[in-house]
Amino acid sequence: MTRWLFFCLLLALPAWAAVGDPNERLPDPAKEAIAREIGRELRCLVCQNQSIEDSDAQLARDLRRLVRERVAAGEDSAAVIRFVHQRYGDFVLLRPPVTAATMLLWATPILALGGGIAVIMLRRRRALAEAAALSPEEARRLAELDRGAA
């Protein structure tokens, strides 16, 4: 955290110093909410891992305006994101699209969970097999105990 912010400040001081411009918000709260949902999906390209909603860099401002213009014109979220994606490429999407390069990334939860379950099942099967097999010595003792108990 410390380092991250330190660096952020050095790089993008205005991003933290300003609070935003009331004029850029849409008058209709429902549309503003949609625009904000979209904005959280889009990266401020000159910032470090910030969405355009969390940055006051000039580029973020421009993108926010662009998103709001399109939302005000009645476009749906998917269309707005597609438009920005076409203009700026994959880098602008904070939720990376599924491509050859991100297949493994998106598969991580399934691979981790599936791999973990497979390992647990294998180990369990082996443990059960080991526990089931008694050594001759143990078998003899067990028989003795059985006789004793009877």
């Binding site: 912010l5 400040l9 933290w16 009331p22 999407l93 904070l94 990334l105 981790a112 526990a131």
Partner: protein
């Protein structure tokens, strides 16, 4: 002079650490009691050397010694004393000294409190800690000397970044390092166990308190950082899924898995191999975090990231320690053996599920953090992995984890009765569903907050149900009080920590219902947000110790009643020529009213106003979790029965 003494103390500490690494390990291998007996005194001597070096660094900052380049770069004579001290560890070199100091403290603690440990195990643990310390002291001495001189000395220092001049942040790094370094001790125990070829309940009893302590400190450290981001950055956000935040989350997740599986080792002598692996991984993740923060590998955002030589050095240390430990693990782990048999539906089974899900979440966070770099190298693809990915990819794993959290403690060891456990939790489930519906009813169609409140109710009341069940409050109410007092503190600690997670979920869900407004107001004008009237009274100049500011006064009214007066500021720090925004926050524990001052124009100002329901619960929850960890730590059994193994072997 003091600086040179500090530098010398570091070098001396490095030599002592090397001796501490080599002699006791050889001693333990050869069963040579004299060499093993050197472990504790060497650890003590190393602690004294490192503490002296750290003291010398603090001294240089306290007297603002401008012949030390570290002081010049990170301090200033006009700074309040607290921030002079925190400046000592608010930079790469100083924070590394703090890191090795905490490591030396841990070594000293194992030496001092570990007299009851079997002497070979103790010697090995202290030896491994010495090995880690020697590596990092070498790193400091060869690449990051904190006592470097400048000549001629400048008139004054350049100052600490103003946003770091904050009490929350002054204690954020020490807390984090206590967590990170605490995992060095569990790592040392794991490697020592592999060397010995033995893991038993006594080992589990030693590892559990260390993993509990490390985890509790890490929880507090992460919470402090997140809280600071919330009030200092002025965006009302508290978690950004930034690579450096993720780097602290990784050991936290693996550490949470570790402290749960250590319970199984201690109580059931099962999951031994797995626990040893987790102990290695937890420290590996701590080192990885250190590496990511200081190497500048990631296309990210760190002040410490500037010198590739440092990155290579830490990477080499990371490889040596973790790869070495993993190789040893592959070689020796099968010897540890002894997986107890348990039914899938049992307390053990629940803890295995906990481990599986926590580790899967950690895998997602790890891969997500590193993937932009891999994608660039492997496919030449420039991609971003941000909050929407992490939220989407971790939620499906977090939901079953939360579901199992209330259920797990209700299950019996070995073989459990699921129907019975569910029966005892029916009212908890009903409350959770009711919370979700109530949220939808009151706040409108917000799916995630509704789920969040359901999770909160499930965990908080689930923890209550666990305690009520243990003290048999319904079956034998007359003895409930006595039973409650007799309940081991570890049981209370576990329930409290789980409830703390629930409290945090309530905070997260509340923040999902936050509303805000961005308005330009002139003095005397007002706006409405969340049922309150927010009136800007005036904006004026204020003078601080090392800053000047513009301060707005905003009165928040509920009808005619004044709720609070908020005074957000825009500060200007002449040293460093920087601006910061100081948010004004009023909390009543159920909601935060939050105001930030922006640009001024036409005699008025731009204000961003937030209404954040339950926001403080996020950090309350974290504190409760850490308290739960601390309470478990104080359990009598942790302190008293650990020595049993030595007592048994003493006559030999």
């Amino acid at each position: 002079m003091i600086g040179e003494l500090g530098h010398f103390a570091l070098a001396l500490g490095c030599i002592l650490a090397l001796a501490q690494a080599i002699l006791p390990l050889i001693g333990a291998h050869r069963r040579d009691a004299r060499l093993m007996a050197l472990a504790s005194p060497l650890a003590g001597a190393q602690l004294i050397a490192i503490a002296s070096a750290f003291g010398a660094l603090l001294w240089a900052f306290a007297v603002n010694d401008t012949t030390v380049s570290n002081v010049v770069l990170n301090s200033h004579s006009q700074k309040p004393l607290l921030y002079k001290f925190s400046g000592a560890w608010g930079n790469h070199e100083g924070s590394m000294v703090l890191w090795v100091l905490i490591l030396a403290l841990c070594g000293g603690a194992v030496a001092g409190f570990g007299r009851d440990l079997p002497s070979a195990l103790q010697a090995r643990v202290i030896g491994i800690l010495g090995l880690i310390a020697a590596g990092f002291l070498g790193f400091i001495i060869f690449t990051s000397n904190p006592f470097e001189r400048v000549w001629p000395p400048p008139m004054d220092g350049q100052g600490l970044n103003p946003i770091l001049q904050d009490p929350g942040l002054a204690f954020h790094p020490p807390m984090l390092y206590l967590g990170y370094v605490g995992y060095a001790v569990t790592f040392a125990f794991a490697v020592a166990a592999l060397l010995e070829g033995r893991v038993d309940a006594a080992w589990g009893r030693w590892v559990r308190p260390w993993s509990l302590a490390a985890w509790s400190f890490l929880t507090l450290g992460i919470a402090l950082g997140s809280w600071w981001a919330y009030y200092e950055l002025g965006w009302g956000g508290y978690w950004f899924w930034d690579p450096v935040e993720n780097a602290s989350l990784l050991p936290w997740l693996i550490g949470a898995a570790l402290l749960h599986s250590a319970i199984v080792v201690e109580k059931r002598e099962s999951l031994k191999i797995w626990t040893v692996l987790l102990a290695i991984l937890a420290f590996g993740m701590s080192l990885l975090g250190t590496f990511l923060v200081r190497s500048g590998v990631l296309n990210s955002v760190h002040a410490f990231a500037n010198d590739p030589a440092r990155g290579v050095f830490i990477l080499a240390l990371l490889m040596a320690y973790v790869a070495g430990a993993l190789a040893l693990f592959a070689w020796r782990a099968p010897k540890l053996g002894g997986t107890g048999i348990f039914a899938p539906l049992s307390r053990e089974g629940g803890l295995v599920l906990n481990n599986l899900l926590l580790c899967s979440i950690a895998a997602v966070v790890l891969v997500g953090t590193l993937w932009p770099m891999f994608a660039d190298i492997l496919f030449g693809a420039k991609i971003s992995v941000g909050a929407p990915f992490f939220n989407a990819a971790t939620a499906p794993l977090a939901i079953p984890l939360v579901a199992a959290m209330a259920l797990g403690p209700m299950l019996a060891w070995k073989r459990a009765d699921l129907a019975g456990a569910l029966q005892r939790l029916w009212w908890v489930g009903a409350l959770a569903v009711a919370s979700a519906f109530l949220t939808l009813l009151v706040a409108g169609y917000h799916v995630w907050p509704a789920l969040g409140f359901a999770a909160a109710a499930w965990l908080i009341f689930g923890a209550a149900a666990d305690i009520l069940d243990r003290i048999a409050a319904f079956r034998r109410p007359s003895q409930a009080w006595n039973r409650a007092r007799g309940l081991p503190r570890a049981a209370w600690g576990g329930a409290i920590a789980h409830a703390g997670v629930g409290v945090m979920f309530a905070g997260l869900a509340g923040m999902g219902l936050a509303t805000d407004a961005l308005v330009a107001l002139k003095p005397g004008e007002a706006t409405r947000l969340a049922g309150y009237e927010w009136r800007l009274e005036r904006i004026r100049d204020v003078q601080g110790p090392n800053w000047s500011a513009r301060r707005a006064t905003v009165t928040v009214l509920d009808g005619a009643r004044v709720v609070t007066v908020l005074e957000p500021e825009k500060r200007f720090f002449p040293v460093g020529r920087m601006n910061t925004t100081e948010a004004a926050i009023h909390t009543n524990a159920l909601r935060d009213l939050y105001a930030v001052l922006g640009d001024e124009r036409d005699g008025g100002g731009v204000l961003r106003l937030h209404h954040n329901p339950l926001a403080p619960w996020i950090w309350f929850g974290a504190v409760i979790m850490a308290l739960g960890g601390g309470l478990s730590l104080s359990d009598r059994r942790v302190r008293v029965s650990a020595p049993s193994r030595k007592a048994a072997t003493a006559p030999a």
